[in-house]
């Protein structure tokens, strides 16, 4: 029986594209904001485009924070954060005042231009990764593959959880893995075949209880 995947709908961004991409790789997902659906899910995807505080406020308003904590921290259900979804997993962001979910011991900060006149913010477009630790999300993905990024904030350091970095004015964490917690700062659903492979790895192989 295939895993039951729930994409969290908390009013932040375009969820259809993630469901579309999952369908292409042969996985079915439901898009939901219901606590009951989250409790039933075998795997969770926490997407997100928009601001940090709005993201946390919406999660709280929907009563999802404690359900997520229980699922992810107590039951060890695999979860994949994407873009803002990854940032929400850190303790806090320079973008706002709200506390993050705090699952990862890291902080989200704003990119600094540091007088580099050719540097652009947002970090927008296709970039490559530097792998610094073994990664199950990147299994089978060519070393030189490009991924699509569109963001102004990032976690610069996440200790052991940072498995792949990217560079934009400074190195930042592009892929996080910590037991059952997975996240990408890029958008796998917008990253062509390489992105499809990352999602497939999460669906089929990523650790935690299957």
């Amino acid at each position: 029986m295939s895993a039951r995947i729930a994409i969290l709908d908390y009013g932040m961004g375009n969820l259809g594209s993630i469901a579309n991409m999952l369908k292409r790789i042969g996985a079915e997902a439901i898009i939901s904001s219901s606590v009951a659906e989250i409790e039933r899910a075998d795997k969770l995807i926490l997407p997100g485009v928009g601001s940090f505080d709005n993201g946390m406020k919406n999660l709280r308003a929907l009563g999802l924070v404690s359900a997520l904590n229980q699922k992810v921290l107590d039951k060890q259900t695999p979860v994949l954060g994407i873009c803002l979804g990854m940032q929400l997993m850190t303790k806090q962001s320079e973008e706002g005042n709200e506390a993050g979910l705090g699952w990862i011991d890291a902080y989200t900060v704003k990119f600094q231009l540091n007088g580099q006149t050719t540097m652009r913010i947002p970090h927008m477009g296709w970039n490559q990764l530097r792998r610094v630790r073994p990664s199950s999300l990147l299994e089978g993905v060519p070393e030189d593959a490009y991924f699509y990024f569109a963001h102004t904030y990032a976690a610069l350091d996440a200790g052991e959880a940072g498995v792949a970095l990217c560079d934009h004015s400074a190195p930042f964490v592009a892929v996080l893995e910590q037991q059952n917690i997975f996240a990408t700062q890029f958008h796998p659903e917008k990253s062509g075949p390489a992105g499809a492979q990352v999602l497939a790895n999460f669906v089929r192989r990523a650790g935690g209880k299957q």
Partner: protein, 254 residues
């Protein structure tokens, strides 16, 4: 390792079908947007832009349906726009499946629209489109599909637009649009110098050399073209191989 320069096919539509013209007039049918989107997705486009150049209010539901059909074909980012004048219209376009939206005429009338869109969706989702034409010693911004002069200096407007919240600039040279005479590198570079957000160059695409020029001399982060891709005059893979061989970072796709 660095950010790749993007190659972006553009689908100008009448809301429903892809159309094309020269210097914004003499439009003719150039195919089904979803079919072209599927082709570009496979051929290695880095992003797709879909514009509703008719942008009439009656046609809006048709255009939203077009965005949905196009988005369903893509595993790359989608930018859409045409006639967006309010936050609600922007939301409708993003909900239909676009990742970013373009604004043009309405932003010139009311620059605060950019601020409102950025506050709601984030700067990374707000692309300021500028149609610029050479007038004497500078470039002037035009609106309403390039038919109405605004008196605004295009370069100064780009700078102001970014201050207001735009996260990317799409600059179209009206002098070069559809002419296949090369991008306006001077215009693109002038804008690129005064903003710190990505700049997409449009208008005048022709040979691989013209792309090389706009990335080098024009300091563009991305280059957009329509007919040379629609008519298969230029293949995406071949173009990217050429750029790679000339030390321009691009995402090679097989």
């Amino acid at each position: 390792m660095s950010l790749a320069h993007r190659i972006i096919p553009c689908l100008d539509t009448d809301g429903e079908r892809v159309v094309k013209g020269v210097q914004f007039v003499n439009l003719r049918d150039a195919g089904d947007p979803a079919a072209l989107a599927a082709r570009y997705n496979i051929e290695g486009a880095d992003e797709l832009v879909v514009l509703d150049i008719a942008a009439s209010r009656d046609h809006r539901p048709t255009f939203l349906e077009t965005i949905r059909r196009v988005a369903a074909e893509l595993a790359i980012p989608l930018t859409a726009g045409g006639g967006v004048a309010t936050v609600d219209e922007g939301r409708a376009i993003l909900r239909a499946g676009a990742d970013k939206l373009t604004v043009n005429t309405a932003a010139i009338r009311n620059p605060e629209l950019l601020t409102a869109l950025a506050a709601e969706f984030g700067s990374q989702a707000v692309v300021l489109a500028i149609d610029a034409k050479r007038v004497d010693d500078h470039w002037e911004a035009f609106v309403r599909g390039g038919s109405v002069p605004t008196g605004l200096d295009a370069v100064a407007w780009a700078h102001q637009g970014v201050e207001c919240g735009a996260g990317e600039i799409l600059v179209t040279s009206m002098d070069r649009d559809g002419m296949r005479s090369g991008f306006d590198c001077a215009l693109t570079a002038a804008i690129s110098r005064v903003v710190n957000v990505p700049v997409i160059a449009s208008g005048g695409a022709d040979t691989p050399e013209t792309f090389l020029e706009v990335f080098r001399e024009g300091r563009a982060d991305a280059a957009l073209a329509a007919s040379i891709f629609h008519d298969r005059i230029q293949g995406l893979g071949e173009l990217k191989r050429y750029l790679g061989e000339h030390s321009i970072s691009v995402r090679q796709t097989g």
